[in-house]
């Protein structure tokens, strides 16, 4: 059993006096509580929740993502996940700031050859330009046969290096499209 809590003797003695003692507790009561405090509650109450997985290491912690009208409000551990049972490491706990980070890009930036500054590009225009460069590089680097005359049917004109935080489905499309284009220099972080 937890022992009796104690107070400093002088304070306690004074506090036991009839009226003066009572006065020592004035100002500590309910009137100090503000309306805001009385109505306090978790800001995620009533919000839409989505189940997700932490993007950092490969432990695979479950996350709960709370959103209000499409705005991210909160990311915390998913208590149902048998792997992390609601816990997260500092990186996982910071993943809301990863999404809302100060320098997050929202527009395409373009640096022309020899340029000293970024320029902004419309997304569609950037996609058109990239597609055009892929086609050119593919053609320029195309090999039907290698030096020995063996069939290779490939291009060395462009390469890909992917992070290991991409989804399986994304990796699938990357491998599928680039292989179909004949690119073989497809690599990712797994080897790094």
């Amino acid at each position: 059993m937890t022992p009796e809590a104690s107070r400093p003797a002088s304070f306690e003695r004074l506090r036991r006096l009839p009226i003066v003692g009572r006065a020592l507790d004035w100002g500590m009561g309910g009137s100090a509580v503000s309306r805001r405090t009385r109505e306090a509650g978790a800001r995620i109450a009533g919000l839409k929740v989505t189940e997700s997985v932490c993007p950092y290491c490969a432990v695979g912690c479950g996350q709960l993502v709370y959103t209000r009208d499409g705005e991210l409000v909160e990311i915390e551990g998913n208590p149902r996940s048998p792997i992390n049972q609601g816990t997260l490491c500092p990186k996982g706990a910071a993943s809301r700031q990863l999404v809302q980070q100060p320098g997050r890009l929202t527009k395409v930036r373009y640096r022309r050859p020899g340029g000293a500054e970024w320029e902004e590009l419309e997304l569609e225009q950037a996609m058109d330009m990239i597609a055009q460069r892929v086609i050119e590089a593919r053609e320029n680097g195309w090999q039907d046969r290698d030096r020995r005359g063996w069939r290779v049917d490939r291009t060395l004109g462009f390469a890909h290096l992917g992070g290991a935080t991409l989804d399986n489905e994304e990796n699938y499309l990357i491998k599928k499209l680039f292989t179909a284009l004949g690119a073989i220099q497809i690599e990712n972080q797994a080897r790094i």
């Binding site: 104690s6 107070r7 800001r43």
Partner: protein
């Protein structure tokens, strides 16, 4: 390295996250403190807390690690240094002058010198007038100064001090108004009441400092009040004396004489108490000698000493020297206030002193006290007093007004 941009990515700097809930339930969490089980990891299938504690085993383990000599080295920081800046000691000084002047006013009245009493009351009012602005400027959120008066909380010296300041200012203004309006009895009554409040106004600052975890302050708890009262009395007397001189009260007037003696006596008292305190503080006294606080203390002592010396040479050099002495007292009082605040900051950063205080070994008297020896009285369970609807409504109104003021003043 240059200061980094520490702008929060989300929310408002310093503004805690919203406490407002948008709906009823939190989805997918263990609610109703379902998470409050002590651990999901270290359940009964582990040996985490397998042993049953013997009675007294834990208390004994705790006692053993928390008693005995201080380990070396200690890893601070332990406590936070006070955040107060120049406004606070200046306020302490003005408050002291006001309080001291109120004593003078009362004494003048008691001695039948109504004219001097009125001057003293004017000095008190003049001295107290800068106090609220100083206090407000010192606040982190000045626009919310009204919240100081949101509740009445006798255990908080800051709260009682704020109320005392308000009462003192009101009564001081009333007294001066009565003087101006030619209602001497009312002025006397208000002045007398103000002297009573002034007794607190001049000393509560010492209580306030004593009621902290800062070693040099906390361990001076029996001395800070008296020291501050002494300084208040001395500087109040000095201010009144100079005011009377300015008002044309001639040299040799008993009130001037009395004030001269009073300021000197109070200053001697202050010096004596401070010396006594320093001696018994032991390790905690280090900030009183070293660094910025030490320099301030030496400056203050030098000024006071010079004032005392000037008093002694008053006869050969004439009464004007005494004015200089009074000024020196005032300046010395101000330096003392600065020094005490600075000493507190240094003391809080003195990790060893803080740790020693925790080991009950910082001052000489402490060495005898060990934890556990002094049995303390158990607290009787008692519901806090609710100030009722009126109190709550008042407090809520003050809060809202503060927020309105703040919003209005925010650029």
């Amino acid at each position: 390295m240059s200061e980094r941009d520490a702008t929060p990515a989300l929310g408002t700097r310093g503004e805690p996250a919203s406490w407002a809930r948008a709906g009823a339930d939190v989805a997918l969490q263990r609610t109703r403190w379902g998470d409050a089980a002590w651990s999901f990891l270290f359940g009964r299938d582990t040996g985490y807390a397998a042993a049953e504690a013997q009675p007294g085993e834990v208390a004994e383990a705790n006692r053993r690690m928390r008693s005995g000599p201080l380990p070396d080295p200690v890893e601070g920081p332990f406590v936070k240094a006070p955040v107060w800046t120049w406004e606070v000691p200046l306020y302490f000084w003005f408050g002291g002058v006001a309080a001291g002047s109120s004593f003078v006013g009362l004494a003048c009245d008691a001695a039948g010198d109504g004219r001097s009493a009125a001057v003293a009351r004017k000095v008190a009012l003049a001295a107290v007038l800068p106090c609220p602005p100083l206090l407000i400027v010192d606040l982190g959120r000045p626009a919310r100064f009204l919240n100081m008066l949101r509740i009445f909380k006798p255990r908080s010296p800051m709260n009682t001090g704020a109320w005392a300041l308000v009462a003192f200012s009101a009564l001081g203004a009333g007294a001066v108004a009565a003087d101006v309006a030619g209602r001497p009895r009312m002025a006397r009554a208000a002045g007398a009441a103000n002297a009573a409040i002034g007794g607190y106004l001049g000393s509560y600052t010492g209580i306030l400092l004593a009621a902290t975890a800062v070693p040099v302050w906390a361990r001076s708890r029996l001395f800070l009040g008296p020291i501050f009262v002494s300084t208040a009395t001395a500087s109040g007397a000095a201010a009144c004396r100079l005011a009377l001189v300015a008002a044309g009260v001639p040299a040799g007037h008993p009130t001037r004489t009395a004030l001269g003696n009073l300021e000197t006596g109070a200053m001697l008292c202050e010096l004596g108490l401070a010396q006594l305190n320093q001696r018994r503080l032991g390790r905690a006294a280090r900030p009183l000698h070293e660094g910025r606080a030490g320099r301030l203390f030496r400056a203050a002592e030098w000024m006071v000493g010079a004032g005392l010396a000037l008093r002694l040479v008053r006869r050969p050099l004439g009464p004007r020297v005494h004015h200089l002495a009074s000024t020196l007292y005032l300046a010395g009082g101000l330096a003392f206030r600065y020094a005490w605040i600075e000493a507190g900051k240094a003391s809080a950063r003195d990790d060893e002193a803080v740790a020693l205080m925790g080991r009950g070994a910082v001052t000489r008297g402490d060495a005898l006290r060990r934890p556990g020896e002094a049995r303390r009285l158990a607290s009787a369970a008692r519901r806090p007093r609710h100030n009722g609807r009126v109190g709550a409504a008042y407090a809520e109104t003050v809060r809202r007004v503060s927020l309105v003021v703040e919003r209005a003043l925010r650029p």
